[in-house]
C-alpha cells in the first residue's frame, strides 16, 4: 500500500522536520526547507506535524496511488493535477486508488510538498525519516526518489474524507523578491559602517550556486572593518555568512554543522519559508529586527497553526456526531 513513483522529478526527497541530536557528530539535521508549509499540510490532514512528506522541485514527480488516501499539497505552486484535473494548493482532498498526481507548470515558489494522511512510512533513523543526502541515510535509502520507488503509507482514518482548506492568515505570501527579517549575528558588529548600510539596504540576487545546503548571493561587496581569522564555530539553518570575497551565503536545511566564516546575521524562523521558496535569479533584501520581535513572530505562527489544528478537529468531530 503506497505511492508509486512513475517519474521521479529533478529532486524529490522524503523529509520531515529534521533529525536533531547528532550535530555533534557532524551530522546535519536535514529536514524540509519550508517548515511552515510541511507543518500546515500535516495539520490539515490530522497528522503529527513532524510526519514525513515529499519535497519536490520542478520538474516534479508523477505519482500513482495504490490505495485511497487523503492528500494535501502546498508550498510552491507547481500546477498540481489529479487525473488531469487541477487541484488547489493548501486544501485536503481524496486521491482515489489508481489515480495519478502530476504537476503541469511552476507558477510560484521553488519547493512544493505533498503530505498524505498518516504520513509517509519509510523507516525512522535516529528519530527522523528525513533524507540526509550528504550522509546517504534516511528517507528512501538515503537518496532522492527514482522511478519505480514505492513509498509505503499506512491506512489512517485521519479526518476520513473531510476536506479542509487553510485560512488566509496561514497562506504564505511568497515572493520572488522578499524582504526577509533577520537578527544580528555574532560577527555583525565587526562590519564597517558602510558595509552595515549595504547589508541592510541593498538587494542581493540568488546565484546558480543554489541547493539544499545553501544559497550563494551576489550583490554589492561587504567587508569587515578589520580582517578577522575565525576558527570553525556553530551555524544554523538561516545563518548568513560573509565569504572572503565579500559576498554572502545563506545556510539552508542541509548546511554543514559548523563554519569558519563571519556570521553577520540569521534569517528569522518566521521568514525562512520565504527564502526557502526563492530560486536562482530571485532576490532578497534584509531588514533587522530584535530577537524579541523574531520570537514574537515565531509564536504568532504557532498560535495560527494551533487554531487550524483545533478548527479541523472540531469540524471533524461535529461531522462524526451528525453521521
Amino acid at each position: 500500500m503506497g505511492l508509486i513513483i512513475k517519474k521521479p522529478g529533478i529532486l524529490t526527497t522524503i523529509q520531515d522536520l529534521g533529525r536533531t541530536g547528532a550535530q555533534k557528530f557532524g551530522l546535519n539535521p536535514a529536514g524540509v526547507m519550508d517548515r511552515a508549509a510541511a507543518r500546515t499540510l500535516n495539520v490539515l490532514l490530522g497528522n503529527a506535524e513532524s510526519d514525513a512528506v515529499l519535497e519536490m522541485h520542478f520538474p516534479a514527480c508523477v505519482i500513482e496511488f495504490e490505495t485511497d488516501v487523503m492528500i494535501a499539497i502546498g508550498g510552491a505552486d507547481f500546477g498540481a493535477r489529479l487525473n488531469g484535473e487541477p487541484l488547489r494548493n493548501w486544501s485536503s482532498m481524496l486521491a482515489e486508488k489508481g489515480s495519478t498526481l502530476s504537476f503541469a507548470k511552476r507558477s510560484s515558489g521553488n519547493r512544493a510538498y505533498v503530505a498524505v494522511s498518516g504520513g509517509l512510512c519509510v523507516p525512522e533513523w535516529r528519530g527522523s525519516r528525513s533524507t540526509n543526502l550528504v550522509a546517504g541515510i534516511g528517507g528512501m535509502d538515503g537518496r532522492k526518489l527514482s522511478a519505480g520507488d514505492v513509498i509505503p503509507c499506512e491506512e489512517s482514518p485521519g479526518y476520513a474524507d473531510r476536506i479542509f482548506t487553510v485560512g488566509h492568515s496561514l497562506i504564505p505570501r511568497y515572493s520572488r523578491f522578499p524582504t526577509v527579517r533577520i537578527v544580528a549575528g555574532s560577527e555583525f558588529e565587526y562590519l564597517s559602517d558602510e558595509s552595515e548600510r549595504t547589508f541592510l539596504s541593498e538587494g542581493f540576487t540568488l546565484t546558480n550556486d543554489y541547493n539544499r545546503m545553501g544559497y550563494r548571493l551576489s550583490g554589492k561587496l561587504i567587508h569587515l572593518l578589520h580582517p578577522r581569522d575565525m576558527v570553525s564555530t556553530a551555524v544554523s539553518f538561516g545563518t548568513i555568512q560573509l565569504l572572503p570575497d565579500g559576498q554572502l551565503i545563506i545556510l539552508m536545511a542541509d548546511h554543514q554543522t559548523s563554519g569558519g566564516y563571519p556570521r553577520i546575521g540569521s534569517v528569522i524562523s518566521a521568514d525562512l519559508p520565504l527564502v526557502a521558496q526563492c530560486g536562482p535569479g530571485d532576490g532578497v533584501s534584509f531588514q533587522m529586527v530584535t530577537i524579541d520581535e523574531a520570537e514574537r513572530l515565531a509564536l504568532r505562527f504557532e498560535t495560527e497553526l494551533s487554531f487550524l489544528r483545533v478548527g479541523c478537529r472540531l469540524q471533524a468531530l461535529n461531522a462524526s456526531y451528525r453521521s
Partner: protein, 227 residues
C-alpha cells in the same frame, strides 16, 4: 579567563557561547564540558548542544521554552540565564579525558595523493615525514564538515601545508589530510581541499551503531604507519 564568555543568538532557536576565538585545548575543554553539562541537565525545550573548537551552540524549541520559563521576555533570555548559571557552577578549567585511539595509515603512493607535493615544498624525505607525523598524538577538537569528520591538531610546523588552491572533486573515503596545522580523516568520499597524505581503512562513521563515530571530540589519536 576573566572576561565573561560572549552569548549571542544564532537565529531565534539557538544561541552560541564563545570561549575565545582560538584553537587551544583549554577553551576546547570548556566548550565540550559545557555541552556535556547541558546534555546531562536538559531543560524543557532543550534540543541539543554542539561543541566546536572554542565555542558551543545550544539549540532549543522556542515555544516550549517560552511556555516553561514565562517570567522571561524571550526564550533567548531564559536560555541565556540558564547558561550563565551553568557557567557559575562549572569548573572554569575542566579537563576532558577522551579515549585514546590508534589509526593505521597507508602512506603509500596510491593513497598519499599530495605527499610528493609536501615532500618537495618542505624539502624532506618520505620516511622523515612519516616519522614527524606519527611521532605525536593529536587532539580531536570537534566533528564537522561531514558526518564523522574529526578536526585534529596540531600538526608539526615542519610538515604543515595550507589547503589546496583548488579543492579536489573527489577525495577517496578514509583519506587522511592536512590543512595548516590541522589534520583530519574523510569518513566518506567527498569533494575536499585538504592535502592528502595517506589513507586508513577504519570506518569513521557507522550509521547502525549508537555512537555513530569512531572518534569524538576530546579523544586523542595516534597515527601508525602500515607497512
Amino acid at each position: 579567563m576573566t572576561e565573561a564568555p560572549k552569548i549571542f543568538p544564532l537565529g531565534d532557536g539557538a544561541l552560541t557561547i564563545d570561549f575565545g576565538n582560538e584553537i587551544s585545548i583549554e577553551s576546547n575543554d570548556r566548550a565540550i564540558a559545557f555541552c556535556d553539562y547541558f546534555e546531562k541537565r536538559q531543560f524543557p525545550g532543550f534540543i541539543e548542544a554542539v561543541p566546536a573548537y572554542s565555542s558551543a551552540a545550544i539549540f532549543y524549541d522556542t515555544p516550549h521554552v517560552h511556555r516553561t520559563f514565562s517570567t522571561f521576555a524571550t526564550a533567548f533570555e531564559a536560555v541565556s540565564d540558564l547558561v550563565r548559571s551553568a557557567l557559575l557552577q562549572m569548573p572554569t578549567a575542566p579537563e576532558i579525558v577522551g579515549r585514546r585511539l590508534e589509526v593505521p595509515v597507508d602512506f603509500g603512493s596510491d593513497a598519499a595523493l599530495d605527499l610528493p607535493f609536501i615532500l618537495e615544498t618542505k624539502a624532506i624525505r618520505h620516511e622523515e615525514f612519516i616519522e614527524i607525523f606519527t611521532s605525536r598524538t593529536y587532539r580531536v577538537y570537534m566533528l564537522g564538515f561531514l558526518p564523522g569528520f574529526a578536526y585534529m591538531g596540531e600538526v608539526d610546523e615542519r610538515i604543515a601545508v595550507p589547503r589546496k588552491q583548488s579543492p579536489r572533486l573527489t577525495v577517496p573515503k578514509g583519506s587522511v589530510g592536512i590543512a595548516g596545522r590541522q589534520t583530519g580523516i574523510y569518513p566518506q568520499e567527498s569533494p575536499g581541499g585538504w592535502q592528502i597524505i595517506g589513507r586508513t581503512s577504519l570506518e569513521m562513521f557507522t550509521p547502525d551503531v549508537e555512537d555513530l563515530c569512531l572518534i569524538n571530540a576530546g579523544d586523542i589519536v595516534r597515527f601508525m604507519s602500515l607497512k
